[in-house]
Symmetry: C2
Subunit: 225 residues, 2 copies
DNA sequence: AATCATTTGATAGTATTACTTTAATTTGTA
DNA sequence: TACAAATTAAAGTAATACTATCAAATGATT
């Protein structure tokens, strides 16, 4: 059975919630396709309108700019990851397996999730990996942060931090460790694809996972700080 | 004594080398000021021209676009870091102190370097930290990579990797570890400034350094992989 | 089935951006 | 002094990132 779940996203990520209408859903679907295809720079509302056989004006009723649209995708992505981490770990009992399962989920490239069949999660992940940080790295960051744009990301980090602290209550930098793993994995995947000389995972494609799990293990179970 | 050193940069990062002329140097100086001030998105050649009392057309003889200008700044930054690492470590004899000195240099926020007094290194570093990745994250990455845009960055990584392998010849992921530290430090500094809930360095400002040196130590001296 | 509110579409328009072109002027150099 | 190269000034173009207006379609309510 397929259940459609509507994620709750910060209102600064849209003008009108695209999850509520057919046109809105079409905007999300098509923008993921198009952005993955031609990249964020070349992406315009005009091209999107042509692709989805609608008009610029209609799209502007949902998003005030393509930056806001990317922010929406970014927020959606992290809400979805958060949701997946929650459901995947809920049956596990100890903090260690919860933490490791979550990290594996975060690092590995995911399958499509049929719960949101209107979203192509594979392409969305590629967009976040390739363009995601652009939505953050703007002069407006402090403003959109205050508006709650990164709540799901922060929640996710805090969840993992709590598990980590159960295992090692005295570890001094839990947040840095978690964000370093999350962001680091993204960067290593990107490097593996485009700047191979910078990574060591030319041969085996699970070495990113191996590297970060190893890092985690060393921090968790070997004390020298 | 102040020595002016001209860094050699990949030719895909400019149309005419701005280091060679007064106007070129002025473009670099003013673009660093302006970009740091208003951010990459709002930055235009028109505004730059007004600021430096020149014209758009003149700037376009040096750089074909503002993206290329950012790429130049990015390449310049890493050439400069490379140079600093080389000079700072050349008197050290063992790999371990070389590696640690280099990592400290990479992580900590640097003083202005009087060798290149026409460049404001503090502001440049802020630009790279805030906007740098944008020069990479474009559909053109594979093209500019082939043209050699990231040579200095790669050289730097390879230098550190070699030192690391002297200390731990059997370590399986040296490149990933080094790039995770370099990129991770940049991200943590950014988070510390804008998304404080994601880091643990609210209080002490050297905790980023502490965290990554600690990570390095664990990997170097505790084997469990 | 008629009414009304809301959403969408079609069209046009504006300001800005990201360049290009050309010709005149200045600067550096032999 | 003359020549080439670099710079400036000015104008122009195509595309982008929006905004505004009004008509048409849709949908919910009575």
């Amino acid at each position: 059975m397929i259940v459609q779940i509507k994620l709750s996203l910060p209102s600064c990520a849209y003008l009108r919630d695209p999850q509520e209408t057919k046109l809105g859903v079409s905007i999300i679907q098509n923008s993921i396709e198009l952005m993955d295809d031609i990249g964020f720079e070349a992406f315009t509302f005009k091209k999107l309108a042509v692709k989805m056989e609608s008009t610029e004006a209609s799209i502007y009723r949902y998003f005030e700019s393509k930056n806001q649209l990317l922010l929406f995708l970014y927020a959606w992505y992290w809400a979805w990851v958060n949701y997946r981490v929650k459901t995947t770990t809920q049956n596990l009992t100890d903090a260690e397996s919860k933490l490791k399962t979550a990290i594996k989920l975060l690092i590995s490239h995911t399958e499509e999730d049929e719960k949101f069949q209107f979203i192509n999660e594979i392409k969305l992940r590629q967009i976040i990996e390739n363009e995601g940080i652009k939505s953050i790295l703007t002069k407006r960051i402090d403003f959109i942060n205050k508006a709650g744009a990164f709540e799901n990301y922060k929640k996710l980090v805090e969840t993992l931090v709590q598990w980590l602290l159960v295992i090692r209550p005295d570890y001094p930098h839990p947040n840095m460790l978690i964000t370093t793993i999350i962001e680091g994995a993204r960067i290593q995947h990107f490097f593996a694809l485009h700047l191979t000389r910078l990574t060591n995972n030319r041969e085996e494609n699970d070495s990113v996972e191996h590297f970060f799990l190893n890092l985690l293990n060393q921090v968790l179970f070997l004390k020298n700080d």
